[in-house]
């Protein structure tokens, strides 16, 4: 689907990309991002099953290498959910933007500067975590205190991602100027929306880190406020999950149709869905603070209501993608109400990983609505139900889709065939089964009262109600461990050893369908709405949390 760029030939930045390979500049920059992402999960993923074994009352095994449970858990959360995701998303976004617009990034040099910033950040934060000086988990709530390198490192990762986003915006604007009156391809639309949301949202955590945590860890200030830190973190924390999700949606909306050779059901509603997510994903973060003492019930109810509203674009996506898949199945001769499902490519790792990921995401979406229901939340908050839920969304739908992307992107990046299609397919199926069992068992244990983020291996009291379910989680962990091993075999094999040429071309379209609405690209209007909605929804929460009379009271507690 590599249409020739219709842009005027006078422009300097126009590139033509190989169908089954990458330009060398592309390969180096994107490859550097994918490499760091894969290195991060090479530690992060292996810790997952180890945690499950430590938490199973029947086993209580000590975690290898990282015997202190909370050090391991910090690494698992930071490496998987922050480092892997951010690097993968930035690399993937560059690829999508360059290929869809048929032009180089506005500045490849700035692209490298962003990478270096983020990489130094990972090294700094990694140093703090690996030396056990940052056992604060990936949410690092004040007044827990980590070594200053942890905060500086995370700040650099965020700032680097802003630079990357800026690069993408400028690239888009240059294309915009050269192509008046034309709608941008949907994948780029989604990428721009994602980075607008990300930059707006990460302002919250940047303020938290730079004005509260970093100065506290350096001893520049002596006191801090835990409630305010939680408010600022969750201003960022919810859109963070959408930052992970939108690249997956981009693949579902714009790449799967190409891979299945059918048009997407509705391009316009896809754009509407992305706009809704970009705007509404921030002013709902109080749903992570439902049982916090310093946030009013009114704010909680309002954020709960908007959380319901932000589920609409996801329902829209479910419809749109299901309809697109049905087209694909019927085009392949599938009949009957559900018979078309049998005709999807159940032996193709790129497709299997994505379609199974979507199915898992539906479970995650429904359990997410339960979390968002403020009264139900009292039964669920901080129980293992919560990791059960987000391993079906993040480690399920999102992660499986990223692996589906990796299975076509890595071959064209390395100029090699995917190492083994059967092993890659087996990786997807085992991940699906393992994560499903993980979600069910952790969810059920949570309903029986098992707390999350607890080192069950060192607990003096084990409840007979949840113990059996956490033992089941260990079985799920074993299935997932097999899947992780398969994943590494396929990745390392594709990176270094496999013979033959890549088989799957980059599923990128360079044009928007005729009739794609231009009004959706009124970014300044959307940004104004983001600002207004957050002033209204977060302003009162922050003002109420701040203790204007007494200032900050809490001192820091190093978590060594």
């Amino acid at each position: 689907m590599q249409a020739v760029s219709p842009a005027p030939k006078s422009e300097a930045n126009i590139l033509t990309f190989p169908r089954l390979g990458m330009l060398s500049s592309e390969r180096a920059l994107i490859g550097a991002h994918i490499l760091v992402a894969l290195l991060a999960i090479s530690i992060g993923l292996l810790l997952g099953p180890a945690q499950a074994y430590r938490r199973a009352p029947a086993l209580q095994w000590e975690i290898p290498v990282f015997s202190y449970y909370y050090q391991a858990l910090t690494l698992h959360g930071v490496l998987n959910a922050l480092v892997f995701t951010t690097f993968f998303i930035v690399g993937f976004s560059y690829f999508v933007v360059q290929r869809s617009l048929q032009r180089a990034l506005a500045s490849v040099t700035v692209g490298w500067i962003a990478w270096v910033l983020m990489f130094i950040g990972v090294v700094l934060a990694g140093f703090a975590m690996l030396t056990g000086q940052a056992n604060v988990l990936y949410t690092f709530y004040a007044p827990m205190l980590a070594h200053w390198t942890f905060y500086l490192g995370l700040a650099l990762v965020i700032v680097g991602s802003w630079v990357a986003g800026g690069n993408i915006f400028v690239t888009y604007m240059m294309w915009r100027r050269a192509n008046p009156g034309k709608a941008v391809p949907l994948a780029v639309f989604a990428t721009v929306a994602n980075f607008i949301m990300w930059i707006s949202a990460s302002l919250g955590v940047a303020i938290e880190v730079l004005t509260m945590l970093l100065p506290l860890s350096l001893g520049i200030v002596q006191t801090t406020d835990p409630q305010v830190s939680r408010i600022l973190f969750w201003f960022f924390g919810h859109p963070l999950v959408y930052f992970w999700l939108l690249p997956a949606y981009t693949s579902w909306y714009t790449m799967m149709p190409i891979q299945f050779k059918v048009p997407v059901f509705s391009d316009t509603l896809a754009r509407v869905a992305f706009i809704m997510i970009m705007i509404i994903s921030i002013p709902i973060g109080v749903h992570h603070l439902f049982v916090d003492p310093g946030v009013s019930e009114v704010a909680k109810v309002m954020h709960s209501l908007l959380t319901f509203v932000v589920s609409v674009p996801s329902f829209l996506t479910a419809f749109n993608i299901a309809a697109t898949l049905e087209r694909a199945g019927r085009a392949r001769g599938g009949t009957g109400l559900l018979g078309w499902m049998l005709k999807l490519e159940w032996g193709n790792p790129v497709m299997v990983s994505q379609v199974l990921g979507m199915m898992m995401f539906i479970i995650g979406g429904v359990t997410g609505l339960m979390n968002a229901s403020f009264t139900l939340n009292i039964a669920l908050h901080n129980t293992t139900w919560v990791p059960g839920h987000f391993h079906t969304t993040l480690a399920g739908g999102v992660f499986m889709t990223y692996m589906g992307i990796l299975y076509w992107m890595l071959p064209i990046m390395r100029g090699r065939k995917l190492f083994s299609r059967p092993l890659a397919t087996a990786q997807a199926y085992t991940w699906f089964i393992g994560m499903l069992l993980f979600g069910i068992s952790m969810g059920r244990a949570g309903l029986e009262g098992a707390a999350r983020r607890t080192d069950v291996g060192s607990a003096q009291v084990i409840s007979e109600y949840w113990a059996p379910w956490l033992n089941v989680t260990a079985i799920a962990g074993t299935i997932l461990l097999i899947s992780v091993v398969l994943l590494f075999i396929v990745v390392i094999g594709t990176w270094f050893f496999s013979k033959g040429d890549p088989e799957d071309p980059a599923p990128i379209t360079t044009v928007a369908p005729s009739g794609a609405p231009l009004w959706t690209e009124r970014w300044s209007l959307w940004i104004a709405l983001i600002v207004i909605s957050n002033v209204v929804m977060w302003g009162p929460v922050l003002l109420e949390g701040l203790n204007f009379v007494n200032g900050f009271w809490s001192v820091g507690y190093p978590m060594n």
């Binding site: 709960s304 039964a379 607890t454 109420e544 203790n547 009271w553 809490s554």
Partner: protein, 168 residues
């Protein structure tokens, strides 16, 4: 903007279902009294001696109503009782059908509070007073766990509530 007929009907159905769900939530809060903690008061975590938290304990307010003042700290709930379990953790006794309002704060970092099988779940954030009212309808022994990570012995930060039958 063109919207497919099926897709429009689907969206209307989604809106209706979400509306019903949300109405059920509001009803749960207003009719069945499932309430969330709400901002109540600031308290200096380093100067608790000057506040009600100087003397943790259970106070009988009459009419089956009680107030429990508790201080959370690494890694123990100060409940103000003199009874301890085999593991050395506090035990609090309340009669069946009593309605207990918990007032909790933290002396150091953020902790959590969750009574198994009850609508009791709060973050205990230093600087803030967390308040929740719980009715104990079934006699039995209930584990109260700190559910917010708070350092090395977080898993063993708990106490027990024993709900006693009126006959006993």
């Amino acid at each position: 903007m063109h919207i497919d007929r099926l897709e429009r009907n689907y969206l209307i159905a989604v809106a209706l279902v979400l509306g019903v769900f949300f109405a059920a939530l509001i009803a749960g809060a207003l009719v069945f009294g499932v309430r969330l903690p709400t901002a109540t008061a600031f308290v200096n975590p380093l100067a608790l001696a000057d506040t009600q938290f100087a003397n943790p304990g259970l106070r009988d307010l009459g009419d089956g109503k009680y107030e429990a003042v508790i201080v959370a700290g690494m890694w123990r709930f100060q409940v103000g009782t003199n009874e301890f379990s085999e593991t050395g953790h506090e035990i609090m006794r309340v009669p069946v059908n009593s309605q207990v309002t918990f007032n909790i704060t933290s002396r150091d970092i953020t902790h959590g509070f969750m009574i198994e099988f009850h609508n009791a779940n709060m973050e205990i954030v230093p600087g803030q007073v967390a308040r929740q009212t719980v009715t104990f309808r079934r006699p039995g022994e209930y584990h109260v766990q700190c559910h917010e990570y708070c350092g090395r012995d977080h898993a063993n930060m708990f106490f027990t509530i024993i709900v006693e039958d009126a006959a006993a």
